[in-house]
């Protein structure tokens, strides 16, 4: 690929999604973007770059960004954050929110929905304790295509084995042909919508728990700080933020404090001052 074309695509993708592509990722760019050229009947990436330059076609630029930003997703990814959520955080919230009996959880950059559905299955498993409670689980991702997939709740045999215990598969999935679909009782617990972490989150509300895992590493430091800043505005003062394993407070905005380092759980500093 010509350096000019690479720069054009990289700039476009960065502006729209925050994803930073480096020169050594031209292979990734080619493998993800060639299918888009075929959709638009373009002969090559060079032609597609030319089309972007001359037309600035909104749909084309959207599709290019989407193709670059689809990420792998696993059920119960890394396991221990979800165990921590179930065994420590959820019992704490059951006490703290006893009066309003309402929890709001956000899976930010949710990809095909595995994280949001994992949380929904955990909550379903705790339905005795959550009797009379309202639990909103919101999943957002900037990719329209991936949100449609997440909503469908349909997964391949490969996907339902990555991280998912067979007990949950038996309990919460139905087989349809060679695919597995998550049951309605779980799908109804999750609302998916398009949403870009770089933009105003709109009327998304405030959250007790935010999961924003395996996405911030795609951003440059400035963008990462900006996104975390915005997330802090939609967290309740004592809300919790789950980041990727290994993430520390270094490079995080000052008002974040570590709550449980082994699972990269963070809270807001102001909550400590208020107490």
């Amino acid at each position: 690929m010509k350096p000019d074309d690479f720069d054009l695509f990289a700039t476009l993708v960065k502006q729209r999604s925050g994803l930073v592509l480096t020169g050594d990722q031209s292979y990734l760019l080619e493998s993800r973007l060639l299918p888009v050229t075929r959709t638009y009947n373009l002969k090559s990436l060079e032609d597609m770059a030319q089309a972007v330059r001359s037309t600035r076609d909104e749909k084309l630029m959207h599709d290019i960004t989407e193709a670059m930003t689809i990420h792998d997703s696993y059920f119960l990814r890394d396991l221990k954050p979800f165990r921590y959520f179930q065994s420590t955080l959820l019992p704490q919230l059951l006490v703290k929110r006893e009066a309003k009996k309402h929890l709001r959880i956000w899976s930010a950059a949710c990809s095909s929905g595995q994280e949001a559905y994992s949380l929904a299955m955990i909550c379903a498993g705790e339905s005795d304790k959550l009797q009379g409670w309202k639990v909103d689980i919101i999943g957002t991702d900037l990719s329209r295509e991936i949100i449609a997939r997440a909503k469908s709740g349909i997964f391949t045999p490969f996907e339902v084995q990555r991280g998912l215990p067979v007990g949950m598969l038996i309990k919460y999935f139905e087989q349809s042909g060679d695919k597995w679909q998550i049951k309605d009782e779980i799908r109804q617990r999750v609302q998916f919508s398009e949403g870009n972490l770089l933009h105003d989150f709109g009327p998304i509300g405030v959250f007790d728990v935010v999961f924003c895992r395996n996405v911030l590493h795609c951003f440059d430091p400035l963008t990462k700080t900006k996104v975390l800043e915005s997330i802090s505005h939609v967290m309740l003062p004592d809300g919790m933020l789950f980041l990727s394993l290994g993430e520390t407070t270094t490079g995080l905005p000052d008002h974040f404090k570590s709550i449980h380092a082994p699972c990269s759980v963070f809270g807001l500093e102001s909550a400590a001052k208020a107490q």
Partner: protein
Amino acid sequence: MRTCLLVDDSRVIRKVSRQIFESIGFVCEEAENGKTALETCKTKLPDFILLDWNMPVMNGIEFIKALRQMPDGKNPVIVFCSVENDMNHIRAAIEAGANEYIMKPFDADIIRGKLGLLDLIEA
């Protein structure tokens, strides 16, 4: 050192899974059907068993039922690993005493994930 018994009539599958389990730190033994696996278990019970379903002489379900009846036969963690990938087979395997189920084809990620769920390795 944790021990693992790989039970599959396919030598290729045994070889592939052996590489994965050895890389995780298991000492592996192999058996090509349920009967030889049962004989191995009578000598010494492994910590973990990866078990195919369809095998000549004695299949996986017959093996697991027999093993779970043996003294201490409930101790080994058993993960079925089979091309039978419909809900009925999966339920039957769990009811017969399997701890987890893997649908073929599988990869190292799936095995590691299942071992993590079973607390045999850190997830």
